[in-house]
């Protein structure tokens, strides 16, 4: 018998056989769409135990709250599928938010928004160029960019909060259908569109290919640079969209916006089932993961959990989700022969 990885693998399965059999088809379903199961379970629990959770107002609140991380997560998904990463999205959010609020009074809402979005896309373009032309690793490049873009945000905005009285910007940001703000709707539309693009367009297939096996993609004639740079631009665009949305909603911005958002966005992407090693992923699941994180936070607020404990619970939830994901991946791989 040939020596197999499972023989010397430190994570050799020690779990009882019955768990494997009980899994089966259900396990496969859970394995692929586990984020929706988690979301459903948590939501169901809160639905039953907290009457406030059920109110339309609360639901709309949750949807708005998760939108910003969701924007980032949706933008990150194609990039991570292509086996890159963008740590600068939080800082791009801050920069765009400050730009749109700072320029709205002098230039008008639309030009300010355009400049903010353009800024995000330019940062994405710059990062993409450095990664692909100079062949540097995206983690380092975007880590440096995270630091630098935050500096640019402070350069533009200074220490203070910026605010605007531009009516069209304010009305755009507060536009809503009853209690539901337009921002989550935009997020959902983008999630669906991005997912469709990833699955059904040539560009999307190529992104998967680049992440799955880069040399094979090169050999297949795919122009790697084009798609990776495009993915970076998309990530930058989503981040700046998040910044514009946040600033428009609040009619204010400061350079500290979006601190640590990138980490939670990446967490959402991973929780949504996208592997950081690339090759597979889903934008809709990333949105679901962002939503789940918001539901969790909201649930804890409703249960009057002290804010400090919320932080602890979010961290533990992250680790738990990772454990579940690891367990299910391991089981799936073991089933297919390791």
């Amino acid at each position: 018998m040939t020596l197999q990885m499972s023989d010397i693998d430190p994570n050799r399965d020690r779990r009882p056989q019955i768990m494997e059999q009980a899994g089966g088809l259900l396990g496969n379903l859970i394995g692929r769409q586990q984020i929706w199961i988690m979301l459903a379970v948590i939501s169901a629990y809160l639905f039953i135990t907290e009457p406030t959770f059920r109110s339309i107002f609360n639901v709309c609140n949750i949807l708005l709250d998760c939108s910003y991380i969701a924007f980032l997560a949706i933008g990150l998904t194609p990039l991570i599928i292509s086996r890159n990463i963008d740590l600068a999205v939080g800082s791009i959010l801050a920069l765009s938010a400050c730009l749109v609020v700072g320029l709205a009074d002098t230039l008008g809402a639309m030009p300010a928004i355009a400049i903010a979005l353009l800024a995000g896309m330019s940062v994405g373009l710059l990062n993409g160029l450095i990664v692909e032309i100079l062949k540097l690793d995206s983690f380092i490049v975007t880590l440096a960019a995270m630091i630098g873009i935050r500096g640019l945000a402070f350069l533009f905005a200074g220490q203070d909060s910026l605010s605007t009285f531009n009516d069209s910007l304010m009305s755009l940001g507060l536009m809503s259908f009853g209690a539901l703000s337009v921002i989550p709707i935009v997020v959902i539309v983008l999630a669906v569109t991005t997912q469709w693009a990833l699955r059904r367009t040539v560009a999307g297939r190529n992104i998967h290919a680049i992440g799955g096996n880069r040399s094979a993609a090169v050999n297949a004639g795919i122009r790697i640079e084009r798609y990776v740079i495009g993915a970076f631009i998309f990530s930058g665009l989503m981040a700046s969209l998040a910044g514009v949305a946040m600033a428009a909603n609040l009619s204010a911005a400061n350079a500290n916006f979006g601190q640590s958002y990138e980490l939670w966005a990446i967490a959402a992407v991973v929780l949504g089932g996208t592997r950081l090693t690339g090759g597979s992923g889903s934008a809709i699941n990333s949105f679901a993961a962002a939503l789940m994180l918001s539901v969790l936070r909201n649930g804890m607020n409703l249960k009057h959990v002290e804010s400090f404990y919320v932080l602890v619970t979010m961290g533990l939830a992250l680790i738990l989700a990772l454990l579940i994901d690891k367990y299910l991946t391991y089981r799936r791989l073991k089933k297919s022969g390791g």
Binding site: S215, L311, L318
Partner: protein
């Protein structure tokens, strides 16, 4: 089944960009590439602000670089093993808060022991999750970061703490504020730890195994190296060193803030990258990481002393990291020593 945590691994081997294939003098770029801009920078700052290169300023900068430097030494181990540790900043916060609070109750010796134990405990948790359970290190340590941050806030109840009872002449104060032969104690401690860890890395079997695990984890596992244990130990060391840095940190100011360490992981990572350690794992040196952190500290200090606003540091740090890694990449591709 691959269990490597190469989350941020760049593209698999691709041909270097055309324009680099010409001359071999580029091989030296890695070594002298960064030195030239640094020399220019130092001269420029010195011209504008002559107090930059004074002994007192240099010692001040080195003293401030001691805490992140010590952490960077330990995180270098983690990076060599192919993982990341994002929780070091919050471990610093937690342990400094613990040390300061318990000094008031039990005295410095017990407090320091409690702090070290706490750091090791978090390191053990990290090591278990990433080393033995093989969770993704970025998300896993993000979860720990969040949890530890929350625990810190719970412990202090949101307030910052200060030492009230220890007199200014005790050994505890000496650690942060004392001088040995005219050099501040933190610098001496930093230098000693760097040397000890470098020897540990290059001359012991543990160090050998560390490089092996980072270089090729599957091969190491097949060679009989307990990869899980090696990774576990790096995280324990990382937690321990974060606690040591906290001792020096809190001894200096005799107080601790809830978020005293937030953002440290960025500085540490930037210093490690600047020092030339590959984030893919498998190579690196604690001395180079220490140098990287020191260079970063001098750049930031130089910009401040020259009168530039605080955000200039970040923008320059961004450029420096990109330049440093490009220089290293050019040297590597040209086949020279890096």
């Amino acid at each position: 089944m691959t269990t490597t945590d190469r989350a941020m691994e760049p593209a698999q081997q691709v041909a270097p960009p055309r324009f680099l294939e010409r001359k071999n003098w580029r091989a030296y770029t890695g070594q002298i590439g960064l030195l030239v801009p640094i020399v220019i920078f130092v001269i420029a700052v010195q011209a504008v602000a002559p107090q930059f290169l004074t002994i007192s300023n240099i010692l001040q900068v080195l003293r401030q670089a001691a805490a992140p430097g010590i952490i960077a030494i330990a995180v270098t181990y983690v990076v060599i093993a192919g993982r990341f540790d994002l929780s070091v900043g919050s471990i610093l916060s937690l342990t400094s808060v613990l040390i300061v609070s318990y000094t008031n109750v039990y005295g410095p010796l017990t407090a320091v022991c409690i702090g070290l134990a706490a750091g090791v405990a978090v390191g053990v948790v990290n090591g278990f999750l990433v080393g033995y359970l093989n969770l993704n290190s970025v998300i896993g340590t993000l979860g720990t970061l969040s949890t530890v941050q929350g625990l810190t806030l719970i412990f202090t109840g949101g307030t910052n703490v200060a030492v009230k009872t220890v007199d200014a002449g005790g050994w505890f104060a000496f650690l942060g504020r004392g001088y040995i032969f005219g050099i501040p104690t933190p610098i001496i401690i930093f230098a000693l730890i760097t040397l000890v860890f470098e020897v540990l890395l290059k001359r012991t079997t543990f160090g050998r195994r560390l490089f092996a695990v980072g270089g090729n984890e599957t091969a190491s596992a097949f060679s009989g190296i307990r990869t899980g244990r090696v990774v576990f130990l790096t995280y324990v060391i990382s937690g321990l060193m974060a606690a040591c840095a906290a001792i020096i940190f809190s001894s200096r100011v005799m107080a601790a803030q809830n978020d005293g360490g937030s953002g440290y992981e960025l500085t540490v990572l930037a210093g490690i990258i600047l020092g030339g350690t590959s984030i893919l794992g498998g190579s690196g040196s604690t001395i180079r990481s220490a140098v990287g952190v020191i260079i970063l500290a001098f750049i930031q200090n130089g910009l401040l002393v020259a009168g530039l606003p605080y955000y200039a540091q970040w923008i320059v740090t961004w450029a420096v990291i990109i330049l440093a890694v490009s220089a290293d990449m050019i040297a590597r591709r040209a086949g020279g020593a890096s």
